[in-house]
């Protein structure tokens, strides 16, 4: 089992023929993901990477029964692409694009409110179920099928956690990169809830950052409803207040969204918090009684 994506996911690539879209679509296909085609307005009817190209998501869905889309279109057009996918009935939209204006995302969030579509991202590395489907830009080879679910706001820091889990001999069910922007489709809590409900997931790793209250929200939910061990880490313990640290969302605004405050809340809620990001994998193995 896994969550969000698996070997049956039928993936449509939006921004298919661009350089980013082409590169990552080939990587996804190479990994074994069932990519069924792509969308580039104006290039419909042609073929790319031996797959059909469509003018609209609607056409693509009709022709291929796609249920997942991944978005590589530039920031100025990305909000439009998300809404187009939702309108076409795509169940899961993964938006990789970084740099979408906040105003556009406010509109997207409102648009998606009453629709069944789930958005992951934007500004995220995507979702991977090792051995089944990679819908994202993460390096596939560091992952291995296993029992740990991972949810994270960051890209390379997620890879770090994945690598540690693989080296600890545990492997992953599904890894969800939720993205670093102020407005994202799937929150830490949403992702934790999915993994908590997945029978194959035995433990969850939750990686957060300074800024916002998503980790605290997830922690309070875990305290009430958690049935599996959760190991947590918050990046930015040394970040000075008020300075932008790469991710627009990672600005320390008030006392409650500092790394220290979040870690304290997480500990109170029964999460196994590690202070060093080097100990994520070892801690999970220890908690599960599977330390080497």
């Amino acid at each position: 089992m896994s969550v969000l994506v698996n070997k049956d996911s039928r993936v449509l690539v939006q921004g298919f023929t661009g350089s980013e879209g082409s590169f990552h679509a080939s990587q996804m296909i190479e990994y074994g993901t069932n990519v069924v085609g792509g969308v580039t307005p104006g290039k419909g009817g042609s073929e790319h990477l031996e797959l059909p190209v469509f003018n609209t998501v609607e056409e693509g869905v009709k022709a291929t029964k796609a249920n997942v889309s991944i978005i590589f279109v530039p920031p100025a057009f990305a909000a439009d692409a998300i809404m187009e996918a939702a309108e076409a009935g795509i169940a899961l939209v993964v938006c990789i694009t970084e740099g979408i204006p906040t105003k556009d995302m406010i509109a997207v969030k409102e648009y998606l409110k009453d629709k069944p579509t789930r958005l992951v991202g934007p500004n995220c590395p995507g979702v991977i179920t090792p051995g089944e489907a990679k819908v994202g830009i993460m390096p596939g080879f560091i992952h291995t099928p296993g029992t740990i679910g991972i949810v994270s706001r960051s890209g390379t820091l997620t890879y770090e956690a994945v690598d540690q889990i693989t080296k600890a001999g545990l492997g992953q069910t599904t890894c969800i990169g939720i993205g670093g922007d102020p407005i994202i489709g799937t929150t830490t809590k949403d992702a934790v809830m999915l993994l908590m409900a997945d029978p194959a997931t035995e433990g969850i790793i939750m990686i957060g950052e300074i800024g916002g209250s998503m980790e605290a929200d997830a922690a309070y939910w875990i305290k009430e409803h958690g049935t599996k061990p959760v190991v947590g880490f918050i990046a930015g313990q040394t970040a000075p207040p008020g300075r932008r640290m790469g991710h627009a969302g990672a600005i320390v605004g008030g006392a409650a969204d500092t790394a220290a405050a979040k870690m304290e809340i997480m500990k109170e809620c029964g999460i196994h918090v590690v202070e060093s990001p080097a100990n994520i994998g070892a801690k999970m193995a220890e908690v599960l009684g599977k330390a080497k």
Partner: protein, 397 residues
């Protein structure tokens, strides 16, 4: 992106928001001319000289002063222009003042008492909607108000489907205790303020204080305006308002090379790919007994040229006693980064501090080979924990 008070006010005014009028000046002589011109335009008899820097708390540092004559304008302006202004938000070195805003006096006596309010517009990240946050306690530090009298802070959330509604602007004016013409002026003020926020893709407005004058006008006496950098492509004329003299020169230079760099005051420099891993690496440095000298994200396409540039930027900081390179290769190939490190050593000449290099992920084995065979005095690590131990070891030598 931050802009100056005078720039923020000019934007607000273009949206019909009433402001404290003013004219910007870069010399004491120009300040006097500005004061005369302002007297002609507004009839003001006194002036407020306001330092224009990208930091709040200017009054506390002596950067905002009242002048009751043209001589005083000249005297005060000559003292403020060129001063190193230290406020609670600038850090101990302060910020150099290049410009002053000569503003009209708006606290003139009249039929009613003046009143100061607080108002900001910003994103509520929990709901993904904009909110107007306001308080009867204007002119004060809002964090302090939030801590001591939270019941005096109000919030009005804007539904993106329909925008700010009239009943909401009326509620704000009622909650601020206004009536009569001041009430009406406030509803107009709030409506225009939100229209400006939405229209320019702002990421934050903070107007502190919003003033009710003695003749019942509602005006913005200060304006802190932040713009969403991701949306600047839609607003080229606001993008031009960027003042790079307000930014750290090294950070500006890094930005020109597409490196995301923030200077900090520690002793261990770091070079990392990805913002989250960069913050985690800074944390590792602290746990290993050092303190990060910077945040540096080389981005998703770290090649040899960028790595070299990153080294040059880190080495500008004389406090750096060691450098930790932490790259988790995904799309980025570790062997290319390793080659970049070797090339940087050659091109920069002597790098005077020890370098700990941790390369993991795509082509990590080839990368380690390049480092090992280079003969450079580099401390290689594969696991994050090893890198942390090496930082500790290098610092204790």
């Amino acid at each position: 992106m931050n802009i100056h008070e005078y720039q923020g006010k000019s934007i607000l005014k273009s949206y019909g928001v009433a402001i404290q009028e003013g004219i910007v000046a870069e010399t004491a002589e120009a300040a006097v001319d500005a004061a005369k011109e302002l007297q002609k335009q507004t009839g003001t008899g006194w002036w407020v000289v306001k330092a224009q820097i990208h930091a709040g708390g200017r009054g506390k540092g002596g950067g905002v002063k009242l002048a009751k004559s043209l001589d005083e304008v000249k005297d005060i302006a000559s003292k403020i222009i060129g001063m190193q202004l230290i406020t609670p938000q600038t850090g101990k070195e302060g910020k150099k003042v290049n410009k002053v805003l000569i503003a009209q006096d708006v606290y003139y006596p009249g039929e009613t008492k003046t009143a100061e309010f607080y108002m900001s517009v910003l994103l509520n990240r929990n709901t993904g909607r904009n909110i107007i946050m306001y308080s009867t306690e204007g002119g004060m530090d809002i964090e302090e108000v939030a801590a001591k009298t939270p019941h005096l802070i109000f919030k009005e959330e804007v539904d993106p489907a329909v925008g700010l509604q009239g009943f909401q602007t009326r509620r704000i004016a009622f909650n601020l205790g206004l009536s009569g013409s001041a009430f009406k002026e406030m509803t107009k003020f709030v409506a225009n303020l939100f229209r400006a926020y939405d229209g320019i893709d702002a990421s934050m407005f903070e107007i502190n204080p919003v003033l009710k004058t003695s003749d019942n006008k509602i005006i913005a006496v200060d304006a802190k305006v932040n713009l969403d950098e991701n949306a600047l492509y839609r607003h080229p004329k606001y993008a031009e308002m960027r003042d790079i003299t307000e930014e750290d020169p090294t950070e500006v230079e890094a930005g020109e090379h597409n490196l995301n760099y923030v200077k900090l005051d520690g002793n261990v420099g770091c070079m990392v790919n990805g913002a989250g891993l960069a913050m985690a690496t800074m944390d590792i440095i602290k746990l290993a007994g050092g303190f990060p000298a910077n945040f540096l994200d080389v981005g998703g396409t770290a090649n040899a040229a960028r790595v070299e540039q990153a080294f040059r930027i880190i080495l500008k900081d004389p406090n750096v006693k060691a450098i930790l390179v932490n790259i988790f290769g995904g799309i980025v190939r570790c062997d290319r980064v390793a080659q970049g490190i070797v090339d940087a050593y050659k091109n920069i000449g002597e790098i005077p501090v020890p370098i700990i290099v941790r390369l993991q992920g795509t082509n990590a084995v080839e990368a380690r080979k390049i480092i090992d065979e280079s003969g450079l005095k580099v401390f290689p690590a594969t696991l994050l924990k090893e890198a942390a131990d090496l930082v500790n070891q290098v610092l204790s030598n």
